[in-house]
Each structure stands twice: as structure tokens, then as C-alpha cells.
Symmetry: C2
Subunit: 416 residues, 2 copies
Amino acid sequence: MSHTVEILCVGTELLLGNIVNSNAQALSRELSGLGLNVLYHSVVGDNPGRLKAAVDQARKRADVIVTTGGLGPTCDDLTKQTLAECFGKKLVFHPECAQAIEAYFKRMGREMTENNLSQAYLPEDCSILDNAWGTAPGCAFQSGGAYVVMLPGPPRECLPMFKERAAPWLARLSEGVIRSRTLRVFGSTESGVEAIFRDRMNQLTNPTLAPYAKEGEVELRITAKADTAQAADALIAPVEAEVRSVLGDLVYGADVSGLEQVVLELARARGLTLGTAESCTGGLIAKRLTDIPGSACVFKGGVVSYHCEVKAGVLGVDQALLDEKGAVCAEVAEEMALGAKKALGCDLAVAVTGVAGPDPDERGNPVGLVYTALAAPDGTWVKKLDLAAPGARRDRIRTLAANHALDMARRWLEKG
Amino acid sequence: MSHTVEILCVGTELLLGNIVNSNAQALSRELSGLGLNVLYHSVVGDNPGRLKAAVDQARKRADVIVTTGGLGPTCDDLTKQTLAECFGKKLVFHPECAQAIEAYFKRMGREMTENNLSQAYLPEDCSILDNAWGTAPGCAFQSGGAYVVMLPGPPRECLPMFKERAAPWLARLSEGVIRSRTLRVFGSTESGVEAIFRDRMNQLTNPTLAPYAKEGEVELRITAKADTAQAADALIAPVEAEVRSVLGDLVYGADVSGLEQVVLELARARGLTLGTAESCTGGLIAKRLTDIPGSACVFKGGVVSYHCEVKAGVLGVDQALLDEKGAVCAEVAEEMALGAKKALGCDLAVAVTGVAGPDPDERGNPVGLVYTALAAPDGTWVKKLDLAAPGARRDRIRTLAANHALDMARRWLEKG
């Protein structure tokens, strides 16, 4: 029998709309990946009565309950107490958790307040889900026919806790192995990809094929279920080959964190170094490249030339050109890339100049007009972009501009 | 009696984690702003049986039900039918809706398929919520003690529909307004802040006071309910004053997007320009400053000096110093800040150099060792930080390092 899941998120900040429930989305994807059917999300505030009623209800309609939030040290963190009560369990002090919390504060060089030790109380007979990303441990237990997993609320703790701690615990409920492979596509829209593969997606049942919109790009996920990982991978391979043959070099990678990872790996493989010159993206490309551990092997540095005098003074862009044409034109993009290549002493430099908005620039260039450039050992290239689509605001224009610049480098590096 | 709300979102794509439930967040904010207490969010898939059960449950625990999704023309759009059934109403064809749908397709220059006219069937005796942003009209009705509002799922339709159509209809239920003010705190932990204010938080009922952990900082939110915005603000003011008097300059702002916004505003007010020199943060500070529209008034640019030769070549850091002490030391941080100030021609420059991990640097400096520096017209300052903690991975170390650098600038600017 297939298991059904309710994700129950606890936090008044969600009900006030202060934060979006990104945990519910991320956990839904992960749980679906385990072959568990998520049938309900619910959110209640930091109120024990309403939480208790929500748990009672979840037990009636699902057999796996995954909670987020309310595990912290403060007096409105009531999830453990309430769930323990619902399932007739006591809270028990776990000295090993207390030690871990104390050690955490010691390493942080901070003084631990007494209330932090309340986090070491967990339901009796539970599996502790050790929190390597914060102080509040999670826990999991089985009671009657129900499987309960409690995770902390902050997304940067919740998601790794699920992947590293809860998923192995829940694996027993999964019948067989579910594997997925995510192809990353840049240069098409979700609806464009969906239109191409609609019939295939409807035909396919194992593996399945599904598109997901990402910030400025598209993911195509192939998911297979089989008795072994090997058998699942064997189901995935022909579908991946089919997608790649249809989309060609729109597919820039599989199971990668983004264009920046692919660019770094390609450059490292070819022994080339990278640099950036950024105006409207303001450091976003450099930030994304350096998000990746080990990027220092390849990435030498960047210049954020937000003002024209930095474009001229640090990157050596011709002042007369800036005076005549302004900062947003193909020639400046090209000179920025060449200037970065020279100033930073790198083999390959990308540059971006444009109007991220919300307002047109002082020369009347419209929001969304962006030039990206690539300076390589064998030449320079410039691309003119119109990123002003309905709903494309500042952050999206910046993300798309960064993607386009990175994609220019990716395509050049792939040619070699 | 105060009204209570359940937001009930219908859509299998939410349960699969394909999209995040941004409607629930946006509607929660709007409804709270009307003085209505959102007590529950729930999500069910496109399944009439589970939707009916969810509606029945929502009626028991809330008197206002706001649904999103399932109003479209396809066969799995079942919200109207199901809600009508739950409340014993018939669906009635509304010719004026059919005309509006036909007109919409005409305007868009698209052909209308017959199934689109199913959207003109709405529950009898309802108020039509005309959809100027798409094809599916919404509706609202009162039945017994319940108030029901149905909105379309796409966020670009749902939110304007709420603001322009549903909010006026719901205004009759509003008893006063809810206002909140969020104080941003850098330099303490959530549990530290909670320990200080625990008694006050327990005493306070209107306004309430609650702490929230943010990436590398803490929020303290004060929320008040009153007949008018002015009266609510008057309840908030003394609690804000109390918090500020206790925490002093740990409070860096109220209702702001982050340290970067405060730094930009303070610099603008003083007519000073900013620049950055970043090693381990790799462009993150520049990126955060330029996230903010209008940052070009203040922010001149930055140098991401990831490699030592960029520190020496672009920022003018002494090569002998780099050879002797390496990149991670107080002297280099100071020279980076001074070099950025000079190269970028700015009044105030912040610099960061350190080890973000995952591995110690080649000189054996540990992960989390970071130096931040500030070069200002009246001197330079350097801060040594140990940001290593169990949960402090690369991204968190970088966020904290950026926060510390921005906070140095904030504190210098506030002194003026």
C-alpha cells in the first residue's frame, strides 16, 4: 500500500505572510522523490490547541506526518510538546543533544542561554535527527500506524536535515528505489519545453519526465522507480538521450547546481582562468561563481564597475566612448570584458552592462536592455538582450543577464 | 467577534512541489492588513473528495474561506462545483461573464475554445469578482455564518483580484486594522534576544512581540490591532522604544530589507559614496548593495580580488605583505579597503578577506577566520571574526562576513 503524507508547518510568521512556505515546496519535491504521495499541506500558528487539532486531523487522513518549525528554544516553540502529547509520549532529556548544543555554542564562541537546553528534550523512543546546521535537533518516531518526522523551521536547516537525516529514516516506507536526474536547460521557457515534450510526458509513466521553471531557466526531471539504483538508472538513460537529442546544446548540464558550476568545471578541465566585469548585475556573477567551493582554482576575480568612472579608471573603458554612447552599448560591454581580462590577468572574461530597472537610465535606455560580452584568447563576442518581459523586474533581469553571460562562457568552453 | 480565515489552495502542482505557494503568503499579508486573523493555510490537490472534506473542515474552524485555484476551463478545475455543492448552491450560467471571457480572447488576439465558457458558470446568488487579468472570474458569497471567496490560481491574477475585487467585498468584516513593525537586530542570536525579552513577550497581548531568526541576524516583530492604523501605530511605538532602549545599536533598522538598505540610506543622507573589496565573499556585498533600486546614487563599484595578484594588481596591496603573511590577515584587509577607496574613488570602502571553506587555506588558516575592514575619511578599522560553527558552512560564513562588513559601515555612518 502506498503511503500518504501531510506536511504540517508550524509558524505564525507563515500565517501573517511574513515568509513564503518554501519548506512545503522543497519537502514536497523530496518526498515525491521517495515515492511518497503528498496529499496535504497545512499551516497553523504557534498555538498548542490549534496545532493539536491539526495533528489529530492529519493522523486521520495521512500516515506520514512531516512537521516543520516550532523546535527552537523560545517559549512559542511548541511542536515537540504538542506532538508528544498527541501521540501519548513523554518528553525526555537527551544528554547527547545537550552536549551537541553546548558544543555548538562553544565553537561559535557565544554564551549559551539556559533556554537552549530545552531543545534537548525530545519524545521518548524517538530517533534523533542530529542538526549539523543549527541548534535544534529534529526527531522521528513511529506510533501505531503513523510515521512522524519533526524538522526545524529555518529552510537552511530544514532541507539538509530532511535530505541527510529524515530521508534515510523514511526510506523504509519507500517500495523500491527512486532515482532522478535533472537536466538543466537554458534558452527556452517552461511552456516551450512542455510543448515540445507534452506527448512524451503523457506517455511516460516510469520513468516520468517533468519540466520545472527555475529562475531564468528550465529543469527537466526524469524520475524512475525500480528495485535497484542500477535498474532505475537504466530506465533514465534512454530518456535523457532522447531529451538531449531534441534540445541539443540548450541542455547545459545534468544534476548540477547551475551554469556557474558548469563554467567552472569546463574552465578547470581546460586549465583556463576566469574573470568578470559587471555593471547592472553588480557582483551577482562573481558571487555565483564563488558560491561554489573550489572556485579559486579558476576564478581570479572581478570588477563591479557600477559607475562610469570605475569602468574607465579600473577597466580602462574609453572615456570618450562613455561620454558619447553612455554605459549601455555593445562597445562598452566589449571594452569591459577586454579590460577585465587585462586587469585581472585571466584567460576568459565575461562582462555585463544594461538597465536592470526599475527606471530607464538617464539616456532613456529601456529597462531590460542588456549587453553581455565575452573576451577569450581567440576573440571577443557581444550579445544584445531584451530582458523586459511582463513581470521581469530588477532581480529577474539581473538573474537572466548573469545567466546569459555565463552561457556565453559555457558555449565557448564547450567548443574547445 | 473577530473573524478567522482559512486560505485553502487547490492544486496538485503545489503538492508535487513544482511551485511555491506564493498566493498563501501574499493573501495572508493582505488579509491581516484588513484586520482578519488568518489561522490556517491548507493545500489539497485537484481531487473533489479531498477538496470537499477540506472545505467541510475549514467551515468548522474558520468563518472566512478564501480559495485559490481550480477555476480554469479544464476538467480538473473543480473548485466552483465542489464549493457550490458544499454550500448547497447550484451553478448558474452568467451571460455577462461569458461576454467578458469572449472579449478577453478578442483583446489577446487568440481563439477561444468552447471549454472556456465553463468559466461563466458560478454559484447562484454570488457576487462576481470580475477578472481583468485573465479569463476565469472569481466569486464571493455568504452562506449561513460563512464568507467564501474564490480566486484563480495564477499569482499574477490572484493577487490583483484580491486587492481590487475581494478586499472591498471583505471590508464589511474588518474590525479595525493589524499593523506590524519589524526591528532588525545584528549582533545577537534569536535565543539571546528571546532570553532578554521573554517576560515582556509573555505579558504583551496587544501589541505582541516576537523574535524570528533570519540569515545571520534576528528580527523582532511588534504587531498591534486597533480601530485605525494610527491607533495601532500608537500601541507599537512605546514597545519599539522599549526594545531600542534595551538593545541599543544592535537594532539597525525597522521595516527595512537588510543592512545594505540602511547603509545605502545613511550614506545617501550624508552625501557619501561607497565601494567594496571582496575576497572570500566574492561579490556578495556588491550584489546585495545593488539588489536595491537606486543604489547607483551611492555605490560606485567594487573589486572582487579572489586571487592575490588581483589584490596586488588592482587594489595595490603590498606584494611583500602578501608573500609574508598571506591573504588572510588584518593588514591585508586594511590595505584592501584603502586600495578600494583609492581605485574606486569612493568615500567609504569595506573589505573582506577570510576562509569561507569548506577547507582551510593553504597556510592552514581555519575555516571561518575572516577579517573585515572599513576605510573612511577619518581612519581605517579592522575586525577579526571567527565565524566557524557546526552549521556555518560556506554560504553562511559568507553571509555573516558580509553582514559584519556592512555593519562596520553602518556604525561609522550612524556616528556622523
